[in-house]
Symmetry: C2
Amino acid sequence: MRPESDAWNRALTGEPDGLSRIDTPSLVLDLDAFEANVATMARLARERGIGLRPHAKTHKCASIARRQLQAGAVGLCCAKLGEAEALAAEGIEPLLITAPVSAESKIARLIALNARVRGLAVVVEEPENVKALGEAAAAAGQTLDVLIVNDVGSHRFGVPTVEAAVELGRLIAEQPALRLGGIQGYAGRIQHITGYEERRLLSRSAAAHLGAVRDALREAGLPCPVVTGAGTGTHDFDHEGGVFTDLQVGSYIFMDADYDAVALTPDGSRRFSNALFVLTRVTSCQHDGFATTDAGSKCFALDGPPPRIARGAPQASRYGMFGDQFGKVELPDGGRLPVGTLLTVVPSHCDPTVNLYDAIVCVRGGKVEAIWPIEGRGRTD
Amino acid sequence: MRPESDAWNRALTGEPDGLSRIDTPSLVLDLDAFEANVATMARLARERGIGLRPHAKTHKCASIARRQLQAGAVGLCCAKLGEAEALAAEGIEPLLITAPVSAESKIARLIALNARVRGLAVVVEEPENVKALGEAAAAAGQTLDVLIVNDVGSHRFGVPTVEAAVELGRLIAEQPALRLGGIQGYAGRIQHITGYEERRLLSRSAAAHLGAVRDALREAGLPCPVVTGAGTGTHDFDHEGGVFTDLQVGSYIFMDADYDAVALTPDGSRRFSNALFVLTRVTSCQHDGFATTDAGSKCFALDGPPPRIARGAPQASRYGMFGDQFGKVELPDGGRLPVGTLLTVVPSHCDPTVNLYDAIVCVRGGKVEAIWPIEGRGRTD
């Protein structure tokens, strides 16, 4: 469990200005922990001479994106065009869309967005898509930045070989309205490998592939100023090979039950603190050994380990779902929790959990300091 | 697989006015199937002399609630106060909140809502809560309808015994601002038992408990006009015992992969058709045997069996998650699906899947006929 701030402790031990006034269920951000996480990652990146391009799929929130830019980020990543539209409407730029945009209606939206955003870029993997983007940008009198996305092991998408990447680079160079901005490779499945050394070795081979693509592009006379990828799980060593120019870290700002199990430092010490919690109340306790809360599977994404109770219930209590609407706190030794008991619970996986809420309640010193809208919530389009 | 309407077939076989114009991922409602489901359940209820009080936790959508009321429903159920507020703002009434409302701030909101809605009721299980509601309603010069909620086996909440229910009934009668409207019991865990006869037997014993509570209340001189509960899983026999006055059916309007496995009729024949689909496109296919789509776990709730592909991929293809943002279609015989291929996918569990979207795209005859906002989305408060 993270060493919690005094303010957080005070809030939860019932001081009158504490969390007890917040309606539940709510998504709550411990601002002290969040700001420390942002500052720590920014300091590491500065010290190591590498850029940060934090991924907004984690938070979908302009207030957070703004703070990441203020801490020195070179830009933000978006998983989907809709996410980029939502953040751009709040003035967030530069933006990199980290998955191909290929449907006809989406290319029209992309071109419209490119007219409004300084520093928009999108990844490409297919010759047909390169042609379609080139024609659409040319028809609009625009220049569109594109990055070649490479498959570094997840097989979700991405150009599979160095040769195919160079061929795609040549195609891009033939499109006057496109500008080749570099390459991307994201080893999603590596990020959550719990052992530090195993993760480091696998990430090194993914980075080596990207390095080979970069070198081959340059040998072919093509530019490759940006090599972007990586995540929180590989942030501690992905600067080492000299391949990446910036890291697409996401979860470090919040952490979650899933990442809590991953050794992010060589000695396993905690570098980032849990800053994101679901605040929930006990709404029924008619039986020994468990209680019912107001946060079920409409409040917690389920693609990870079970949510972990940070505060509000005896140690060894476990949190589970009691259907969509309600949570179940299993209590040791047949205990009971009175109705009204407030619990803070670390979500299984931060990204899809944040996507369930319209706002984040930001807390400091036991007081609500701000409520940040999650502008990109539901923007999976 | 459901016998799909001709219109739906046309739309998906590429007719120019078909689904291909809809942006993806989207939540799509087949209006023909939806209306047939609504009409079928309404007809059955009329024939059997039982009321319907459909549960809005399934759809959170005023347009759907309105159609259920037009088909004869006695009112709508809401799982949370926030859901009721969202539907009341659209003029939906009467509304029954099917879980206790006990936090101080929520009681204030409940009283404010009671001033605006004709026919608001809330369930109670605790003496303290009865007192708090009685005092709040009296202070506001209101009468508030309450139903005693009974535990019929799920243990999520509810008064556990007949005696405790009568005691609570007496407490309610002592509060001049409260009116005892009857009782509720919802056997959530029974609804999804696949075998018809096993489900019928278990539901009968749950109903028997409610019958005993009703009789004991009447013997004590207390009113019990309403006995409400049940769901889609038990709709076919919960009228038999003469205990329920109305059924809280929810999923029948949409159906889902979970309910598709439940025999809802004695001979296992389909009574309700799949009306709800996630529409998604293939966005990448670099490998034999699988393709990547644009709908991942931010588009599908995961608390059920895997989503089922209704159309767009060869039979024996399977849908899984490729992380939060993307889906993975596993194809038989090392097949491929071209980028842009449109798939309709039946979600695992309709309620939490609907809660991920801001709107439902309603389709008939291969054309978009309406887009209905999901007013209660995210209203888990």
